[in-house]
């Protein structure tokens, strides 16, 4: 077990929990989107920490590819969520 893996992995767990708490408790839709992104970053960190094999050793490329896919999916989901939020605000303003 590597110190770096444990340190970064445990921090990732804290980030996931922080993000989930923010997503559940924030009233503003935009901040909920930010919170879900923070939670996603925690998941990415968990994967990258597990992929790390120590200094001088090549890390496992499979989780890296997963995280790259995840980052792009996260940004498209964020864009769609923001467009939905914008439409929701527009509908509320019209009422």
């Amino acid at each position: 077990m590597l110190t770096a893996q444990v340190l970064y992995g445990l921090t990732a767990c804290v980030i996931v929990a922080l993000g989930l708490r923010g997503a559940l408790l924030h009233a503003s839709l935009l901040q909920r989107v930010v919170a879900i992104n923070v939670m996603g970053a925690g998941v990415f960190m968990l994967l990258i920490a597990v992929a790390y094999r120590g200094p001088g050793l090549p890390p496992d490329p499979l989780p890296h590819a997963l995280v790259l896919t995840g980052i792009v999916v996260a940004v498209s989901a964020t864009a769609l969520a923001l467009a939905l939020a914008r439409r929701l605000h527009a509908e509320q303003d019209n009422d």
Partner: protein, 333 residues
């Protein structure tokens, strides 16, 4: 760098990551929250570099911090034209009555329990011997993949299905944005300093995108990082108040949006016709096919991200006039 120095560096890095995440979520000021989130993304990119994941670091800096931040900031601007600070509606905040406080504590406890469970699972997984069957399979077959960067090999050869579906997710998201409404109003014309900077920046960004696309075969980089860089060129052009930001009109735009999925599928189906498995490239052609798919994917990704920033379908003049009429009617009501 010796071990103690590295440990101090790790500690500082992780402290700032948790601190920025906390600060970004603790405030009720949306603009502050978004800016802290962007800082969080950039520090995170440093952490990916530290954990020897340069491909992910590039993507995080360009997409996670850069474009997500631009999208979120644009959303803050739309919600509050004129005011620089948007606070959440105070009577909807969960800090008022006793019941809300109890709920807040319950949620906090639940999240702490989740963190504990995750940590336990992680330590359990790390304490067993690492499974290196997959990494070994990747390094053994890297020669046949057509590229020498293992991350690109996984993304576009060994797990090409995942990437095909990821491009489909991007296309679906942009179609959803198209169907939700019109584009957001443009920006004021920029001052001479910013405008001059952008004149230099845009060609550099386009060149960098081309470089990242090409270099992805054997070093950190690839279609995603390149697409995000190309989209960033469009974003800075829009920020200077220009109406033309490099997006083509109508039909050509639709072709570019679908190019990533389309070329990917065409390659897969052609290989099927030639009697190979779906997306099972012949080793001699793998490098060229991956570059072809990545070029199409880069254009699609750039167009998608830029359209997401613009907030909808770019309007032709007729649609523009209709939108203006509607806006006038709305303001009259």
């Amino acid at each position: 760098m010796n071990t103690t120095n590295l440990l101090v560096f790790d500690g500082l890095l992780l402290f700032s990551i948790v601190g920025l995440a906390w600060a970004s979520l603790a405030t009720t000021d949306e603009r502050r929250s978004v800016i802290l989130f962007m800082a969080f993304g950039l520090v995170l990119a440093v952490a990916w570099g530290r954990l020897l994941a340069p491909d992910v670091a590039l993507a995080e800096a360009a997409i996670g911090a850069g474009l997500s931040g631009a999208l979120l900031l644009a959303a803050v601007r739309k919600q509050s034209p004129g005011s620089s600070h948007t606070h959440a509606n105070p009577d909807r905040n969960y800090s008022e009555s006793g019941a809300k406080v109890v709920l807040q504590w319950l949620v906090t406890l639940l999240c702490a329990a989740l963190a504990g469970t995750l940590a336990w699972a992680l330590l359990h997984a790390l304490s067993s011997a690492p499974h290196d069957t997959l990494p070994r399979a990747i390094s053994d077959n890297l020669v046949a993949s057509g590229v020498s960067n293992p991350v690109t090999a996984v993304l576009l050869n060994f797990r090409a299905y995942d990437t095909l579906l990821e491009l489909a997710v991007l296309l679906t998201a942009v179609l959803g944005i198209f169907s939700l409404g019109q584009t957001t109003p443009g920006y004021q014309p920029a001052g001479p300093v910013f405008d001059g900077l952008v004149r230099w920046l845009v060609p550099v960004l386009i060149l960098t995108a081309g470089y990242l696309l090409w270099v992805g075969a054997h070093a950190p980089g690839g279609a995603f990082q390149a697409g995000a860089t190309l989209a960033a060129a469009g974003v800075v052009l829009r920020l200077t108040g220009r109406s033309r930001i490099g997006l083509p009109d109508g039909f050509v735009l639709r072709i570019i949006m679908a190019a990533g999925v389309g070329v990917f599928l065409l390659v897969g189906l052609t290989l099927l016709l030639l009697g190979r498995p779906f997306l099972g490239y012949p080793p001699a052609w793998a490098g060229a096919l991956i570059l072809l798919i990545e070029t199409a994917a880069m254009l699609s990704i750039a167009a998608t991200l830029l359209l997401a920033f613009v907030g909808g379908q770019p309007q032709s003049t007729a649609v523009n006039a209709a939108a203006n009429r509607q806006r006038e009617e709305n303001s009259r009501c």
